[in-house]
Subunit: 321 residues, 2 copies
Amino acid sequence: MKDVAMQIPSYQDMLDAHDRIRPHIRLTPVRVSDYLNELTGAQLFFKCENFQEPGAFKVRGASNAVFGLSEEQAKLGVATHSSGNHASCLSYAAMLRGIPCNVVMPRTAPQAKKDTVRRYVGRITECEPSTSSREETFARVQAETGGDFVHPYNDPRVIAGQGTCSKELIEQTDGLDIVVAPIGGGGMISGTCLTLSTLAPETQVIAAEPETADDAYRSFKAGRIIADDAPKSVADGLLVPLKDLTWHFVSNHVAQIYTASEQEIVEAMKLIWKHLRVVAEPSSAVPLATILKNSAAFRGKRVGIIITGGNVDLDRLPWNN
Amino acid sequence: MKDVAMQIPSYQDMLDAHDRIRPHIRLTPVRVSDYLNELTGAQLFFKCENFQEPGAFKVRGASNAVFGLSEEQAKLGVATHSSGNHASCLSYAAMLRGIPCNVVMPRTAPQAKKDTVRRYVGRITECEPSTSSREETFARVQAETGGDFVHPYNDPRVIAGQGTCSKELIEQTDGLDIVVAPIGGGGMISGTCLTLSTLAPETQVIAAEPETADDAYRSFKAGRIIADDAPKSVADGLLVPLKDLTWHFVSNHVAQIYTASEQEIVEAMKLIWKHLRVVAEPSSAVPLATILKNSAAFRGKRVGIIITGGNVDLDRLPWNN
């Protein structure tokens, strides 16, 4: 077993990541809506990571890993497994550097996400939609290609990269009482904790999770990682379990984990589309869903929300099913 | 007949408008997409007026009119007729100032737009979906209320207000070869001409119009206003005819008018949602549709595009019909 303590990224790693990736990412805008502020009684600041070129915050961690490789390492490229956005973002970053990218993806991943990976010249190997099949298939692909493994979240380079998002958010908003981000494997939440625990220690970090894939919530309550195999939710970016590095941040820095039902997530997604007029994927709507459900905890507060991604199959919107 | 020469807004009117409305509008961001740049061979800069609180650029002209009223005039409020966004934007501006707003709207206007007017405390009187019925109904409403008539586009205060959008766009992009905006009655296009003819006279202004409501295109070719009664298009914000003030700008400053079919508009709308990840209404997709159709005219150019609005009924998307 690896020495976990050695791998925990530092605040300086996050600052270095920001310098490294700045030429390759967008400084995404922060959106506000008077209507949603009235509805929640809070002041909401939505950080639009769906406006990254590949449509998700994961381009931050992926770019940090890809552009941090030595020339020699870079020749063999990178490899990963992912439910979608990490795959397209790693492919995108690898394409920018001109190196190969192999990705293992569940065959059930949205077609829009597969198309995006292929547009960025990523090579897809499909697996079954379970954690076990994913890991088994990946071991084979990685052995064949020798690409550097960039885990979607349990990688210090990735966490340091994701942490750059809340650094920008704090700078763009002049301070927040709370930041809410969705939690799946915990990469964004870990990066947020990494950054805010130094930059804005008074800002609470709250994680938002689908009720039907609430393993992080149960882990948080139990004080140890509980992993489910193949949970289901409309929030298809949030179906993977916590790992050691992300558990470190979740268990040490997260103030609360709230959950929302499938219907609440879809309703919040529609509110975001209608009133912010941005295309956010279901995973990105979980924070607003939990804020609406637990409004007393947010009333009167300045609340940052990460709109984590916007890769949606427009022909299969969840409110039309 | 009024003296038209007296009513043509000046560049200084536009600058004054910007100072007047700045506290009431958003400085909307400019979005870019590497994918759409590759697809068109141009460098596209999308000005996201759909991110104004009421979801459309028309809040600029409406705010300029509302906040320019004397205290005495303001007591009777404002009144207008509109296919939708001007109505909600005028209601919004009137609500901000705390004065009444009466609007005449076609009964066939999208439910989302009616809901928005009512949310902003605007009082709706419905008419038939024809220019003649609209003008007749409005005369009655205005006589009853005495509100100051703020025409959706043929009003110098409105044109000066709309002109503030391309001022920001030029400042945000460091200069453009072409600006493309949709044309209905011509308010946005006129404001764009007003601003660019002084601020960036080397920048061409191109108007984009639905083929099935191409009265501005035919007017432009004929050298005189041709008005249709009740044309039909998925681009429901573009169904009204040019009037004397907007014709002044169209005939003097517009370089070209391009048209697009209904299918091309819907396809461009999907591209905007998918790759810019913003919710744009069909009218806002007409510029991209015409750029894709006339790509030779845009290749290699720096092209500004006004995303005019984002008020869409999410339960009735045009690609699901």
